[in-house]
């Protein structure tokens, strides 16, 4: 079945079997391997991508369901002029150890900041509660997401003066 998904702003077409999961379409058909497969049982969140802006587990959605929708993967976070604030903050705050959960954590963090530019500690922990870090590096992941919030607020004069 031919599907067209807008992936990271670019229309991508692929011919896929309906039973192919979105995560396989992204990794194998589109060659974007930043989306990781962890548990493959809807438990860990390593395969998190944004579908129409909302984080979902791409191992629990068929690729054909994304036909006509917008998907953002970790490769879509950085702009041409540099890292996304969430990426810069993960680097600065040491928000990763082995790095396997990091794409999912950053996408969940980016989606949270879109809705809630100034999240509390609890807000962040709540938002990442569907994503598992097997290194247990949650402290710095929370710090990184909050640092990204501060950096984003500082970069926008309207937010800073508000």
């Amino acid at each position: 079945m031919e599907i067209t998904i807008t992936v990271n702003g670019e229309a991508r077409t692929a011919d896929v079997e309906p039973r192919m999961l979105l995560t396989h379409v992204i990794r194998e058909e589109l060659g974007l391997t930043g989306t990781h497969i962890g548990c493959d049982t809807t438990s860990c969140g390593a395969c998190t991508v944004l579908v129409d802006g909302e984080p979902v587990k791409s191992c629990t959605m068929f690729g054909v369901q994304a036909d006509g929708h917008e998907v953002t993967t970790v490769e879509g976070l950085a702009a041409a002029d540099g890292l996304h604030p969430i990426q810069a903050a993960f680097q600065e705050e040491h928000g990763l150890q082995c790095g396997f959960c990091t794409p999912g954590m950053m996408l969940v963090g980016a989606a949270l900041l879109e809705r809630n530019p100034d999240p509390s500690d609890d807000d962040v922990r709540w938002a990442i509660s569907g994503n598992i870090c097997r290194c247990t590096g949650y402290m710095n992941i929370v710090k990184a997401i909050q640092a990204a919030a501060k950096a984003t607020a500082g970069a926008e004069p309207t937010a800073a003066t508000a």
């Binding site: 629990t60 959605m61 369901q65 569907g130």
Partner: protein, 289 residues
């Protein structure tokens, strides 16, 4: 893990979806949020030959009060239930259960209709609907029928829906003034199935308990309607003794099994404690309202 091969149909109208079900009967499954069906298909516990995706069918995700009931479209996502203003204002058992379902990512996709139709005894919303006396609307190509939730949930993963019907709507009676409700859930970690959970609703009438509802999660072959406990509460004074008796009766109505989440005795005890606590909290809410 890949499921067995199937043919994918994306319906854009309810009529189209129903026609596909009429054509394929038991070989077809309806795909809504997919957060239970897709894992089952990946594990090959389910292998439908046709999937009818209803996500693009318009008008199936609304939430509104109408004719004394809250009407919830089957495609309403758990995240919407958790953030809806009407639900937060007048349906505290739903408002309290919704953010405890699975995890935030699953709540972004999972739907109330899919969750109820899946009929997992560890599912949260079935118990909430039992406690609130809700009904489901089942739509087929030849018409609709309204089925009380207790008759809809038949057994583990089994409902009274026909293969050619779609669960399109949930109707929850609007609680009268001086009502309260809550959902207490014990889970080992976010995203795990409930070890035990209890849904409670309670309405005060002239200083006594007018009516109450209690639904139990994860302690039987399906969500359990603790009718002995609610019958004992109806007309009783809202005292700790009455809540304790209801807790005892609810625990007696449960039939948990020992597993990695806890022993049978432990789970039964949690049913007792959560029923008492839930009733006390619903009573406090009802007294304040």
């Amino acid at each position: 893990m890949l499921p067995s091969r199937f043919e994918y149909h994306r319906a854009t109208t309810l009529q189209e979806a129903l026609a596909l079900l009429d054509e394929h009967g038991e070989d077809a499954k309806v795909l809504a949020g997919g957060q239970s069906l897709i894992p089952l298909m990946k594990l090959r516990f389910a292998a439908p030959q046709h999937l009818v995706d209803i996500n693009d069918v318009p008008g199936l995700d609304g939430i509104e009060e109408r004719d004394g009931s809250l009407t919830i479209g089957a495609l309403a996502r758990h995240r919407t239930l958790a953030t809806d203003g009407t639900i937060a204002a007048r349906y505290p058992a739903i408002a309290s259960a919704a953010p405890q379902i699975a995890d935030p990512l699953v709540r972004n996709r999972g739907t109330i209709g899919g969750s109820l139709a899946h009929a997992d005894p560890a599912g949260d919303l079935g118990s909430v609907m039992l406690a609130m006396g809700a009904s489901v609307v089942l739509t087929g190509s030849s018409g609709q029928r309204v089925v009380p939730i207790g008759e809809f949930l038949v057994d583990t993963f089994t409902t009274s829906i026909a293969p050619t019907e779609i669960l399109t709507e949930i109707r929850v009676p609007t609680p009268p003034p001086r009502s309260g409700g809550t959902y207490l859930k014990l889970e080992r970690k976010v995203g795990d199935f409930a070890t035990v959970a209890v849904a409670v609703s309670l309405t005060l009438q002239d200083g006594t308990i007018g009516s109450a509802g209690i639904g139990l999660t994860g302690v039987g072959l399906k969500n359990i309607d603790a009718t002995d406990a609610t019958a004992a509460l109806a007309g009783a004074a809202p005292t700790d003794d009455a809540f304790a008796e209801a807790g005892r009766l609810a625990a007696a109505a449960s039939s948990p099994v020992t597993d990695v989440r806890g022993s049978e005795g432990y789970k039964r005890h949690v049913v007792d404690v959560f029923t008492r606590r839930g009733l006390a909290s619903a009573f406090a809410m009802a007294s304040a309202g």
